[in-house]
Symmetry: D2
């Protein structure tokens, strides 16, 4: 049990607060002999970087990752990989309000109630800034997957819903996700979300979102019943991301409305073995990967830092109306897309290393 680590044979441990000197992670379990350069990790960090559109937080950080160990002459050595990202945008700010007043819907209150001492600056440990470490670990996980597997695993995420506005799945185009600031797979949705988020920001409000992450070329047999199920680990992985309130696999909650006939993915023999005629299971049956695409969806609540005053209490036990000043992130879910991709990579890499002996890889 370690509260700041995730995974078993592929395992990362994150550390760092939003406004401390740096954040980072230690990635353990990477097999030796994998080419790994800082630039390859940087590529994925740049995808996540804030300040890239008007719809996400304006904190500007280069987020330049340094590899401090575990790599020798651009090759992993099998020893732990320490990754460090300096915190540069620690503008001197007035933190008296956030120090004294709990933001409703935020971890302010629970951290204070449990730990007493807390680094309240910018959310401290509960800041979404920690997700940069996840993305860095996810980049290493991708390298592991590509190294061990004969066919590279492809992991892609998309935003499928902002507020009540859901994309039209008939319009789904993965290439489109790289062309708009929302990772929307539906081009037609982009202007509607832009308008909706502009309104939301102007209103000093925020909204939630739903993200879908898909992994292709996952071999059959990752996961282990009954408490090392691939879907149970994916659920924990996604639920551990800040602000996530729900996770589903394949048909998910929709499965409750299906009949057995509709839900059961039929099978036929194909040229390369069993072929499924549908994927309601989201690529997982009995906790084990089926060889189909692994499909995970998760819901992100609206950010709790809003400009509208809300009823709250102070550290000293007084009732108060509180609100967050200045610019804020109207939809924190957008930035969760690369984080969900990273967690998918980490879970798959961990299970690959756990089960490779069993599945002949």
């Amino acid at each position: 049990m370690s509260h700041n680590s995730f995974g078993h044979l592929f395992r990362f441990t994150t550390w760092g607060e939003s406004h401390g000197p740096a954040i980072g992670c230690v990635v353990d379990g990477t097999p030796p002999g994998i080419t790994l350069k800082a630039e390859a990790i940087q590529h994925w960090l740049d995808r996540r970087k804030p300040g890239q559109s008007r719809f996400v937080t304006q904190r500007r950080e280069p987020d330049a990752v340094q590899i401090l160990s575990g790599v020798f002459e651009d090759q992993t050595t099998g020893t732990p990989i320490s990754l460090l990202i300096q915190n540069e945008d620690q503008r001197s700010k007035d933190y008296s309000k956030i120090k004294e007043q709990f933001r409703p819907g935020h971890a302010d209150y629970t951290y204070w109630a449990k730990y007493g001492v807390r680094d309240y600056r910018g959310g401290g440990r509960s800041s979404a800034r920690e997700t940069a470490s996840r993305v860095a670990a996810g980049a290493v996980a991708r390298a592991v997957l590509n190294h061990v597997l004969p066919k590279p695993v492809e992991i892609q995420g998309a935003l499928v819903q902002i507020g009540a506005h859901k994309i039209d799945r008939a319009h789904w185009d993965w290439a489109e996700t790289e062309r708009n600031p929302f990772w929307s797979p539906d081009a037609a949705m982009v202007p509607r979300w832009e308008e909706y988020l502009d309104q939301t920001r102007k209103a000093g409000s925020s909204v939630g979102a739903v993200i879908e992450v898909v992994a292709r070329n996952v071999p059959v047999g990752l996961g282990a019943p009954l408490y090392g199920k691939l879907d149970a680990d994916l659920a924990a992985a996604m639920m551990s991301i800040n602000a996530v309130k729900g996770v589903e696999i394949g048909a998910g909650f929709e499965a409750a409305q299906l009949t057995g006939e509709e839900n059961a993915d039929e099978m036929r023999m194909g040229n390369e073995g069993v072929k499924f005629l549908s994927n309601k299971a989201g690529g997982i049956l009995g906790g084990l990967s089926t060889g189909q695409d692994v499909v995970v969806r998760f819901a992100v609540k609206p950010t709790s830092s809003i400009n509208t005053p809300r009823k709250s209490v102070t550290v000293g036990g007084e009732d108060v109306e509180t609100s967050t000043q200045g610019r804020h992130d109207p939809c924190v879910g957008i930035r969760a897309v690369p984080v969900g991709e990273a967690m998918m990579a980490v879970v798959l890499a961990d299970h690959l290393l756990r089960h490779r002996g069993q599945i002949g890889l």
Copy 2:
């Protein structure tokens, strides 16, 4: 990492196949000095027992639990508690079909693809029979919660949806859940579900369901950021139950549609400390319990054993039409209610033991 264990300081390990000589679990971490009799565990097992209405599987088992260790003169001693349940209803049956043909939507195929050897009788290890061990472990977890906490934790589950038929939350009555075979909190829904399930069974079909589990009197501060979050563990716990495809906390997927104002649970000072004016968070913020009710919902897919023929393949690699003969469970979700309660108890007991030093208990 252990594939058949769950929890850390309170931890259980299950074993057993549907048609082997017995099933059971070892519960480790129970503090000493807690009164524990077999009858107290039996009470919860009887709640889960199949064959109690025409809507659940007709397997008839006394499911009598034996305590083999860890209890001396009706008191726990702090050593591991071994619980054993004999399998009695192992009717000699023709398993040739289930041995040869994969049921679509079932773990048959993935177990076979990964492990080769499998005990296919009655689903073997992937049978819902394993959940009896969870319920037994949950009974011990409840005893731990009640022993350590000054105020007993109350855990209750309810079925809130079968197929497309959702209960009316305005009718919610916890007492009602004990009066009908569905754990429905909405009396008006009972006859509708009865009719719907009778039709479903007659049609040789099955349907999914949604279960809600609520825990009251949970102290503030259970859980630990960032990878030991209470919600992440609850998500893993529920997703590890057979046939579960989605998990949500509090507002869950609905949170995606809320604004920041709607989602943020406002606070006021009350006589016994902070009071929340709503519970969209489902009792968890930043991975830590808030002191409000912990609310979890999960979706169960329709059982894959249906009488309608579906396209499938055989172990030998031939295309086939397959169906399950005989009586079957039209809605396996009904039996998941006590299992969800048990997993809630286990997660809370584990976190209580992990964090009691920090929260003064």
Copy 3:
């Protein structure tokens, strides 16, 4: 962390008290497709069984093991293997003394001080009876080693010292260990130990012993620096056996007296790769197996149940002189030989499963 489990990918969990209804273990992580019959496990249990010579405890138990799960048609299925041994020799006895008075040198006092409630009958959980579960788990571990490795691992233990009487290593003959009740590899030592132990028992006293366990055909590369070292796990494994007070690898404490020249095992190229010219390292360098024999030694203290009165205190806080009545085990170290072998098998099987992906097995 689980207090009653050992290992990671190969992992067993033991349960049971000396005078409860049964003892047993759950073995998790066994690959599927390994032939495993109860008789094969029984073979190793019979080696350990008490009552086989006048030098060990006279408790007579058939110690018949039952396989309750994880094996189907004599083949492992990859699911947890539950092993159960009934306790039959639970003679009704007067436990009032052991209940009230702490035996000096025994766990009586610490269990009582920590747990309050304890099953004092026959030592309860702290009884050496628990080691039967270890031997059963070790039997499964041997099957795993033999299944995964191209060349069977051979594990053998020997008693090398009783009291101050050490065997002469120049006389070492492994075959001899199977021919005498002490597992002595030195035939000449057998009559001397017999005489010494007869005296010891007549005097109502007891003595300690040193056990050596050797594993042959261990592949290069088991273990992982820096906190998953093979030797660190072996040290924990052996130190977890009842009454063990010291563990050493290869030259062990003797290494403190060696010069660098003496200690460094020189190497030469042989027909099958690197050959070492000596084995001071005991087959482990940097926490990784070298391919040489893995050699572990451990010291067992004299049993604390002796007939001679010693100063002690009672549960009620009174000074007292206490002694154990009746027959006792003059040298509990004898029975530790098969237990040490079993723990060696378990550690190697666990590391084999953890590292097989890396070392091409």
Copy 4:
């Protein structure tokens, strides 16, 4: 399972190679509200620092530790503490020999055989430099012990043997350990060891050593039977230190020669509860602390880097005579004293956090 982490509720993860940019560790599980400044950690690092006498390696490093997270306004916050030490003394050197030839008795060969790729500079990951991270983590562990316990735990280490030269325990004076470069508790031994080590170094040789570490004021009840025993964890902790080949608790291997009467520590009621009249048990019975001093001893082999040529092989599979050029460490055991102290602190802090709920702390 994590190969580069140690502990459970108090847990540290180390990373870094001897000649990489930095080394460090992440310490997880520290309770909030403990005063912790870099200077307090630096104090213990300075104790371990090489280059302080002519008897230890001349690598000169300031070893200045930085706290990168987990501490806010000089108080721990309960979040992970990231500690970083820059590597400054990375003199450009010719590594061609160490790259090509395996030093007998060193991890060179096993790392190469398992991982292929390795950072051979200065021993890379297998360098004793990693122990600086252990000492840093140990400093945090000491702060935890002092914070949680009513009476500060005192942990002290001493060197009790170099080569065949053992201290006279009748001369034991803890104050003396701070006055000589060997941590010798026996002043009379200091000149003899000086002379012996000077000879050893001149001869291009090296010798082993034995270290003893004692912890006072340890509460009763730390540890948990049967696989979370305090002594089993201490054995793993000490055996994980570079070059350690043996570990013993209390009487250790000497216990094999004792009779039951000699070994059993008698008890009497004292003013503050049970008093033991001797401490053969080394403060641990049945895996649980007794309240007496916890006493651990471990043997360190001679360093394998010696100036005398030894038979070895090359990476390319050629026989070779190899030796280490330049200055070397004649007795690496000296520097192991503060490392052993640190590991004792870590194990006790971990067990304190695991068991505090049970023992009322």
